[in-house]
Symmetry: C2
Subunit: 146 residues, 2 copies
DNA sequence: TAATATTACGTATTACGTAAAGATT
DNA sequence: AATCTTTACGTAATACGTAATATTA
């Protein structure tokens, strides 16, 4: 089973017949018929009843269709999420700082930051042992905001 | 994006390197590398950091991985559900009957039925107008239980 | 007869395998 | 040197298109 099979299944169900679905998918009827058959073989289930030249969802097909819609929506969301993370539209900004800095400076900065980039989650890491401070002083680390 | 890409992605993440993942998938390393690259192109995102001959999940990759696991589990569940419906291991048994029959006979029958077939949901339809009864008497309908 | 679905079969896309190169421990 | 990843390229699997058949309104 691949997402293609599921996309085709939904297209046929939405179109009500194979021909129109094939047009929308920009493939031919036989190709689409074959993919639907493959899916039915894998599911060991008739998703559609063939009555004459009509093709109607079976009761099982109706349930599978709803679940399939949800899965495809989730798959779409997964891709969107990945692209958002990559594009910097979403993600986590991790900031390590000494407590004084966290209390004195970060609040106002992050307030504006959060307003500007609503998709970004901010995570603060307190620098209890002073390790970060030391490395900052030694130039091993740099703190950039914005 | 196809499920294959996602399955391969999880396999590489689980194995920790491409070679072992390829062995488990029964394909070769180059083929697997290519599919991972394709997925990264589609996501416009580096899922793994290549450090020398090492391949480690990026922070984005970790998040995508978890979402991908869930999606694949859902996809698996979809297939299982479809096969269960087809095999009669799950589904809905719709019974239409006159009120007297529902009250007098069905309770005990369905109690045993539900115990025997836990995956089946039972739905009762009352026969208010007596239409079902008439059609049963005329032999147009048959009621089978079990 | 017009419209739709299926079957049969050839073609084209693409996933895969093999060979070679690059990179790191 | 050994191990792993990547690139290049030929092969094989398969999704797709074309042609023909079947069925029905």
């Amino acid at each position: 089973m691949e997402l293609r099979h599921l996309r085709y299944f939904v297209a046929v169900a939405d179109a009500g017949n194979v021909s129109r679905a094939a047009q929308r998918l920009h493939i031919t009827q036989p190709a689409l018929t074959r993919q639907i058959q493959d899916l039915e073989r894998e599911f060991a289930s008739r998703l559609f009843d063939r009555i004459g030249r009509r093709i109607i969802l079976t009761r099982d097909g109706e349930e599978i269709l709803e679940r399939t819609r949800r899965l495809l929506a989730d798959a779409e969301a997964l891709g969107e999420r990945a692209r958002a993370l990559a594009g910097g539209e979403a993600g986590v900004l991790r900031i390590g700082a000494v407590p004084q800095f966290i209390e004195a400076v970060l609040p106002e900065v992050l307030t504006g930051y959060a307003l500007t980039f609503p998709g970004i989650d901010v995570e603060l890491v307190e620098d209890g042992g002073g390790l970060l401070l030391r490395r900052l002083q030694q130039g091993e680390l740099h703190l950039a905001v914005g």
